[in-house]
């Protein structure tokens, strides 16, 4: 007879061990999945986790780690603040899209003027766009008690339609021969989020992600507001008696995560992606949820988790072209990781006991 028993204190050892264990289990079960798909599991795992960093073409893939990791970390940091307080923003994908539309729109409004002020303005517009989009569920929750999970998610679908409308209408490239999509910002110097050091993948989004990590770390460990977030998540009643204003917390957490997601979208559209197009978003907003949990909602953990997730994206691409592994297999792989993580979390707060229960 196996039963589980609550621990008096969460196990610190397990809190660190479970993410590692989850990754290992995902590799094993992912290997089984790849074997079922008729691929050599060891080769597939090696292609995903080894090739991008140490393989023959690593010089090409390593910068990608920063390019793909930055938006994931940026979004996940914001989400983690809310998740810690029990505020569930799962519409980061929508805020990411709106941030990109606003950022690109602000830049394209000045085309073809060249000025150093344009890029900062775009950053501001992107952040504001994401913030405003997240404020919809925040204000509705504060004013009417509407469920923020459902509203923020509905707004993803609205944002996707808005994106389609923008790339076919308002922001469409007038010199694009009728193809959908905006002008390419990579070819517009003042609006281009270029690499700061060529060949490293280091662009302004990476810098923003690092600032966000430090900011979140200080906020959570040193600031009163961070304390309020943690107390609200762990003991909502205690927080209420302690004088935490829940409405302000909702506005701050949702607003902050929207702002960061908007920034991520803006840096993506002005840099690696280059233009607003119908298929601009690739699901970073959803993958960031996995990143946030994998990083244990801890800013430093999120950096590690973001890089690992970026690795699976890049490795997945390589496995797709070299081994013919389907793109969806990587999605399943990432989903599996979240499952194992959640399932293993029980070990942090509970002890597994073997033998029959004593009669009370």
């Amino acid at each position: 007879m196996i039963r589980i028993e609550a621990r008096p204190q969460p196990s610190a050892l397990m809190a660190y061990a479970t993410p590692v264990l989850a990754v290992v289990l995902t590799m094993i079960f992912g290997g089984v999945l790849f074997a079922v798909l008729g691929k050599d599991p060891l080769e597939a795992i090696a292609t995903i986790f080894w090739e991008p960093i140490f393989g023959e073409f690593a010089f090409f893939y390593r910068p990608q780690l920063l390019i793909k990791g930055a938006p994931l970390v940026l979004i996940a940091i914001g989400l983690a603040l809310g998740f810690r307080a029990g505020i569930w923003n799962i519409g980061a994908e929508g805020q990411y899209i709106v941030g990109a539309i606003c950022g690109a729109g602000a830049g394209l409004a000045f085309y073809p003027t060249e000025s150093v002020l344009i890029f900062p303005l775009m950053v501001l517009a992107g952040a504001l766009g994401g913030w405003a989009w997240a404020m919809i569920p925040a204000v509705l929750k504060v004013k009417f008690g509407t469920n923020e999970i459902l509203v923020s998610l509905m707004l993803v679908y609205v944002a996707e339609q808005l994106l389609a409308s923008m790339s076919l209408g308002l922001l469409k490239n007038p010199e694009g021969f009728g193809f959908p999509g905006s002008r390419n910002l990579q070819q517009y110097g003042s609006a281009h989020n270029a690499e700061i050091i060529a060949g490293t993948g280091m662009h302004w989004g990476v810098v923003a992600a690092l600032i966000a990590v430090i900011f979140a770390y200080v906020l959570l460990t040193r600031h009163r507001l961070g304390f309020a977030i943690r107390v609200t998540g762990e003991a909502p009643r205690a927080a209420k008696f302690g004088g935490v204003n829940p409405a302000r917390l909702v506005l701050f957490c949702l607003g902050m995560s929207g702002l960061l997601a908007g920034l991520a979208g803006m840096f993506e559209v002005s840099g690696p992606s280059g233009q607003i197009s119908i298929d601009f978003n690739v699901g970073y907003g959803f993958t960031a949820i996995i990143v946030a949990f994998l990083g244990r909602l801890n800013p430093l953990g999120i950096v590690a988790a973001g890089l690992l997730m970026a690795l699976t994206y890049i490795g997945g691409d390589i496995a797709q072209s070299q081994l013919g592994l389907p793109a969806a297999a990587i999605q399943v792989f990432q989903g599996m990781l979240l499952f194992f993580l959640l399932a293993l979390d029980v070990l942090t707060n509970y002890r597994v006991r073997f033998g029959t229960a004593e009669v009370a």
Binding site: L150, G169, I289, A328, V346
Partner: protein, 306 residues
Amino acid sequence: MDLSAINPILLIAAMIAAATPILLAAIGELVVERAGVLNLGVEGMMITGAVCGFIITVNTGSPTIGFIAAAVGGAVLSLLFAFLTQVALANQVASGLALTLFGLGLSALMGQSYVGIKPPRTETTPLGPLADIPVIGPIVFGHDLIVYLGLAIVAATWAVLTFTRVGLVLRAVGENHDAAHALGYKVKRIRTLAILFGGACAGLGGAYISLIRVPQWTEGMTAGVGWIALALVVFASWKPWRVLLGAYLFGGITQLQLNLQGAGVAIPVEYLAMSPYVVTIIVLVILSADKSRAPGSLGRTFHASG
């Protein structure tokens, strides 16, 4: 713009069909939530049901077997959720999200060689001369079996929850799991069964989209219907008949905007396509003032020793 191209009788009949997937998913989730569990994985279970039903139907040629497979597929996926939340005591919100992300990936993987295939047609129920009655015939009697099955499930859910001992126990578990446990009811077993029922219903709903509504397989084809179903349960204040009403309302809007797109209304297609989601938000705002109807233990983890 040519509004006369819209035939009101066909429109109403199509609205009923459009409402069916939302109805099935929502009634399943209603039972799950009445048992005190919040499963945000409806979208994932629907899309898994959609792909399972599609694959089996294409391979066997029988939509009936396909729909059964869809229900089984949805239920199997929901079993993962049941394991996470009932055995591993994981957070229900996070587990539900995981289920959706995993389901979307899994379905894309399973369905990749089925893109672009047309499934065998699902026949409408042979109700004989009834379907030939003018106006009422096509609206009420001209549907496939799943539409009627959905209505039957709503009626049965209402009857079971209101009049039977099983329903009473389920509601007790949802309202106060500690009290139900103290009375000797197996909280986890009851909740697991409710989750399985929810998964099967969501799977059926998903298959209705891939086999009858569209009918084709494309990645992510449920496009948020599962989330609308979740909103619908709140809208319905956890009452079965109100779920029916809500589903027809949302199905109606979805169908109406499609017809308006077809009729070439001067509003851009993208803005019409947004409307079901925007309406969902508006309805949530109007109805979220009254939260008193929510089951008392909704979303809380149950552990006997705690």
